[in-house]
């Protein structure tokens, strides 16, 4: 597996077409190791990334772009195209309530947290509906039980949340503002 030599031009073009097709057709982001399966010859991560950056460049002035998200690479329509896409499908997804958003923020920034932790920070009870909304969107999940009386569930955010916000990692979440006092 060559580390840096780069690929012959023809093979490169062929691979680019296959990669582009797979990325366009895949219902989810593709990881580097998945994409390596698409090449008949062994392909180094470095060569693969070079190809991905080239595809990214090919799409530079189009309405669709290739982005890297937490679970891999995928194509998305650029946000400024949304106004046009909304004309085709005028049903906007509902905006989430403040209760849902605050619960999500607490899980995102304090994870893993129990329902009790969330209630403590918000100062009010958290409805099951709120948690269900986030779970069914695939944004949060139970990752275990806390070893305290009652063994409450521990919630964390998912890769899908990062994907849906077009982020590669949790650290890319906006800072919640200057920390005022340490918790």
């Amino acid at each position: 597996m060559s580390e840096s030599a780069g690929l012959p031009c023809e093979l490169q073009e062929k691979l680019k077409i296959i990669l582009e097709t797979a990325l366009l057709a895949s219902p989810e982001a593709l990881t580097l190791s998945q994409m390596k399966l698409l090449s008949d010859e062994p392909l180094s991560s470095r060569d693969l990334e070079t190809l991905l950056l080239e595809i990214q460049r090919d799409w530079q002035n189009r309405g669709v772009e290739l982005v890297e998200v937490s679970s891999g690479w995928r194509f998305r329509a650029r946000p400024h195209m949304q106004a046009y896409l909304d004309r085709l499908n005028p049903q906007k997804p509902p905006r989430y309530s403040r209760a849902v958003l605050e619960t999500l923020a607490i899980i995102a920034y304090h994870q893993p947290v129990t329902r009790g932790d969330i209630e403590e920070i918000r100062g009010v009870a958290v409805s099951s509906q709120t948690l269900k909304t986030l779970e069914s969107r695939g944004w949060i999940e139970v990752i275990g039980m806390k070893d305290t009386p009652g063994r409450p569930e521990l919630f964390a955010t998912t890769k899908q949340l990062l994907d849906d916000l077009n982020l590669r990692a949790l650290e890319e979440l906006p800072s919640p503002g200057q920390m005022m006092l340490e918790v």
Partner: protein, 261 residues
């Protein structure tokens, strides 16, 4: 919430004193409650509205406003969540502790400000409240942009693949079986001849006479010429070809035999 003072009327009764700056739609005081995410949110609202410092909350003022607010809500028989009443009790407790004379400092022990816990909770809550707003402002899949998924027709049924080895094994099996049943004789003729036979028949599909010469690939080398010739003899032997020559040394013409068409 707007900047205007709004006097609402509930069940026909005008409301006398509403928290300033608070928008209350008529006949819907519940919405006031809904506008806040809980007592911490309400306290933050009061602190921010009066431009108070979270780190140095004037407890007397804050407590007074808070109590005023929940009294108003209670007067109108609105069910207050227990958290609001709990917070009221906590505020009163902090306020009364601040009013009590401070005990003399003992040794180096710091006397804890009774407001500290409340301050901590308010700050933590406010931070998450702002974080929630920031999260909501981020472009979100399905709302602000779409992921692409080009359709893949599942109609194409997956076709079985055959490798050279599969073919070879199938043929070997056949030969093996044929050897067991010796009355079947199977022989593998030179493939090139067999292939050329198919090729010639294909060339003659039209049914017309074709010039004998044109069936030979002159660029294919001597072996190819011989194979083509042998293939033609094989085909003639099997009555698949008609070969005609009208005069000695004249042009030879070949066509697929009527029977073979």
């Amino acid at each position: 919430m707007t900047g205007d003072t709004f006097i609402a009327s509930i069940h026909g009764e005008p409301l006398k004193s509403l928290p300033q700056d608070l928008y209350i739609p008529p006949d819907a005081l519940e919405l006031v409650l809904d506008a806040f995410q809980g007592p911490l949110d309400l306290l933050l609202y009061l602190i921010r509205k009066h431009n108070l410092d979270v780190l140095d909350i004037p407890m007397a003022e804050l407590t007074r406003q808070y109590l005023e607010y929940i009294e108003l809500l209670q007067e109108h028989r609105l069910e207050l969540a227990a958290e609001y009443l709990l917070m009221a009790a906590m505020l009163i407790e902090i306020k009364s502790r601040l009013l009590l004379p401070k005990p003399p400092k003992t040794l180096d022990e710091e006397v804890e400000d009774p407001r500290a816990e409340l301050m901590r909770r308010l700050q933590e809550y406010e931070q998450m409240k702002l974080a929630a707003q920031k999260l909501d402002q981020m472009p979100q899949a399905g709302r602000d942009f779409e992921f692409i998924q080009v359709m893949v027709e599942q109609k194409f049924e997956r076709l079985p693949e055959v490798t050279l080895d599969d073919l070879r094994m199938a043929w070997l099996n056949l030969l093996e079986r044929a050897r067991v049943h010796t009355h079947h004789t199977v022989k593998r003729e030179a493939l090139s001849v067999r292939e050329q036979m198919s090729h010639i028949l294909r060339c003659l599909q039209g049914g017309d006479f074709v010039s004998f010469d044109s069936l030979f690939d002159l660029n294919g080398g001597v072996p190819r010429l011989i194979v083509t010739f042998v293939a033609m003899l094989e085909l003639a032997k099997e009555y698949l070809l008609e070969i005609q020559q009208s005069e000695t040394f004249g042009n030879i013409y070949v066509r697929i035999s009527r029977a073979a068409m």
